[in-house]
Symmetry: C2
Subunit: 319 residues, 2 copies
C-alpha cells in the first residue's frame, strides 16, 4: 500500500491520505488556488463503473478526490463486511491509469467514527444522519439501517472533502435519491450528479459484488437486467400503464431462469427478492403510472448467496 | 423588520439575509478575503447572554454571523413554539449597538426544511441528525425529540454559515455536549466554544423565557441557582463524594421555596423537575464522584408554567 500523503502531484502518482488532517491541508491549498473539486465516494474494489465516474468528474471539475472506505455502519451483523472485497493496490493502479484522480482519501475507521462503531444497532453511539420517508422501502426493507449508514458516512465524507460536486452511480438508485434529498435538506453547498449505470457487454450492471459469482452464475446473471428492460419495453409500447401488466414479463423472465437453473441441477439457487416500480420523488410504489411520471423500475435477485440489484429509469434522464 | 440584504457593511448597519443564496454570496466574499467567521446561532429574543457570546466571538474572529431562527423541530406539539418570544426589531438594535455583528441570518422555515416540517414526529419527513447516547437523558427525558431537533438545525446552519468557530452558552449544558459530539462525529471543520452562563445580578441565569415570569415569580426564580450552588459548595468542601449527600442541600432549598410560595398563597406553583449530577463526557448519572471527575450539576424547575434550567460545572472550565 503506497501512502504518499503530502507528496506533490504529477508523475502519474496520486497522494493517498489516511489522515484527515493532512487531507484538509491539501484541500485548503486547492481552495486557495480557486480550483473546483469533484468527489467520488467508493468502498474500493473499483471497476469500470467507478472509473467512469472518476473520468466524468474530471471533465466537470479541476481536481477529483476518490475516497475508499468500507463503511461498517451500512452493514448488518449478518452481512459481508469482513468478506467485502478489498484490493487497494489494484484500485490505486486503476486510478493512476485513469489520469483523472488528484487524491485518494483512505480514512481510518477510528477517525471516521470517533465514538466507535459496532454493527449492533442497539449499542451504537454517536451521531447518525437519517433521511426519513426514503430509507425504509425497497432496499431499506431487508436492510433497515442501510441508508442511515449511507447518509451518515456520506455526510462525514462531504465534511472532509468539501466537494463542489459529488458523483454517484445510478445503479444504486435509492442511494442517489436519498443522498440528493440529504444534500437538499441539510443545505449542503454541493451539486449532486448521478451518472448512468456502467454495464458489461451483455448488460450486467457492474458491481464489486460480481466478483462473488462463479462462471455458471455469471452466465445467468443478466436475468434481472433483462427482466426490468422487458418491463420498460412494455411501458414504451404504450400498451398499458398498470403495474401488474408492466411487471408481468419481468416476473416471467425471472421465473424462467429460476426454473432453468433448478432443472439443470446447477449448484446454486436463483431467488427473486423484489421487483419495484416507484415514483422518483417519493419512492412510493406506483399502481398506475402517470403519463409523464418519472419512475424507477428496479429489483433485487439472489444468485446463490450474492444479491444483485439493478434499475432503469422511466421518463427521467438522471436521478 | 429591516431586510437590507446585500447592503455593504458599515455605518452601524448590519445586512440581514433571509435568502440562503444571498447569504452564501456574502460568505464567499469573506472567504476570498481570507477572513475568519464566528457564528452565534440563536432563536432571537436576545438578552445580555447572547450579546456576550457575540462580543466574545468578535474577539476571536474577523466577522461574526448571528442567526435568528425559531426552530420548529425542537418543539413538541404541546410546547411554546407559537408563544416563543419574537422581537426582531429590538434584537436588531441590540446587535447594532454591540458593534460586533457582521451579518444576521434570518432564514425562512421553508428554506430550512425543504421537505416541510410538522411537529408531529410520526409524520416528519426529510433528513434528521441524532447524537445517540447523549440525547435521551436529562433534558431529553421530558423532551425526547428536542436534541434531534437541535442537532438537525445546527447542522443545517453550520452548512450555510460555514463558520470557523461556533459559540454556545454553557446554560444549555446538554446542548453544548451534544453539539460538541456532533462536530467531532460528523468531522465538521469547526471549533466549538461554550462560554460561561450570563447571569442577572442576583444569579438568575439569563434566558429568553425569563420574560414569562411575573415579578412575584422573578423574586424567587433564583432558587435553582442557589440550589445547585449549594451542592457545588458541598463538593468543594471535600466533605463527601456521594451523590445523595451532595444533592441534599439543593433539594432542601427547592423544598423550602416551594413550601414558602404555597404558604404565602402566591398565585403560582413551584415544582422541581429534576436535579442531576452527570459525567461531562457520557452524561451518565454519577453515584460517587471521582476525585477529578469533570461533571455537570444541573436541574430544571417549573415556576408557574415556565420551565427554568441551570447548571454549574465541577472540575471543568468549559463544556
Amino acid at each position: 500500500m503506497s501512502h504518499s500523503a503530502n507528496t506533490a502531484l504529477g508523475d502519474g502518482q496520486i497522494p493517498v491520505f489516511d489522515s484527515i488532517a493532512a487531507f484538509r491541508e491539501w484541500r485548503e491549498e486547492l481552495r486557495r488556488q480557486g480550483k473546483t473539486v469533484g468527489f467520488v465516494p467508493t468502498m474500493g474494489a473499483l471497476h469500470a463503473g467507478h472509473l467512469g465516474l472518476v473520468k466524468n468528474a474530471r471533465k466537470e471539475c479541476d481536481a477529483v478526490v476518490v475516497s475508499i472506505f468500507v463503511n461498517p455502519a451500512q452493514f448488518a451483523p449478518h452481512e459481508d463486511l469482513d468478506q467485502y472485497p478489498r484490493s487497494f493496490d489494484s484500485d490505486y493502479a486503476s486510478l493512476v491509469e485513469s489520469k483523472s484522480c488528484a487524491a485518494i482519501l483512505l480514512p481510518k475507521v477510528s477517525e471516521m467514527y470517533p465514538a466507535g462503531i459496532t454493527l449492533d444497532r442497539a449499542q451504537q453511539q454517536g451521531t447518525f444522519v437519517e433521511v426519513q420517508g426514503l430509507s425504509h422501502q425497497m432496499e431499506g426493507i431487508p436492510r433497515p439501517h442501510f441508508f442511515r449508514g449511507v447518509a451518515t458516512v456520506v455526510t462525514k465524507l462531504f465534511n472532509i472533502v468539501q466537494p463542489d460536486r459529488a458523483f454517484f452511480g445510478q445503479k444504486d438508485a435509492q442511494q442517489c435519491v436519498v443522498v440528493r434529498a440529504m444534500i437538499r435538506d441539510l443545505l449542503l453547498p454541493i451539486r449532486m450528479r448521478a451518472l448512468p449505470t456502467a454495464r458489461e457487454q451483455d448488460g450486467l450492471a457492474m458491481s464489486s459484488r460480481n466478483r462473488y459469482l462463479t462462471p455458471e452464475m455469471r452466465n445467468i446473471a443478466t436475468l434481472l437486467y433483462r427482466a426490468i428492460s422487458a418491463a420498460k419495453e412494455v411501458i414504451q409500447t404504450g400498451a398499458t400503464n398498470e403495474r401488474e401488466e408492466i411487471l408481468k414479463p419481468a416476473y416471467a423472465i425471472i421465473e424462467e431462469v429460476t426454473k432453468q437453473v433448478k432443472d439443470q441441477g446447477l449448484p446454486f439457487e436463483v431467488r427473486l427478492d423484489y421487483l419495484s416500480l416507484v415514483d422518483v420523488a417519493t419512492l412510493g410504489e406506483i399502481e398506475v403510472l402517470g403519463k409523464e411520471q418519472a419512475a424507477i423500475l428496479s429489483g433485487a435477485v439472489y444468485v446463490g448467496t450474492t444479491r444483485l440489484i439493478d434499475n432503469v429509469l422511466i421518463n427521467a434522464e438522471e436521478l
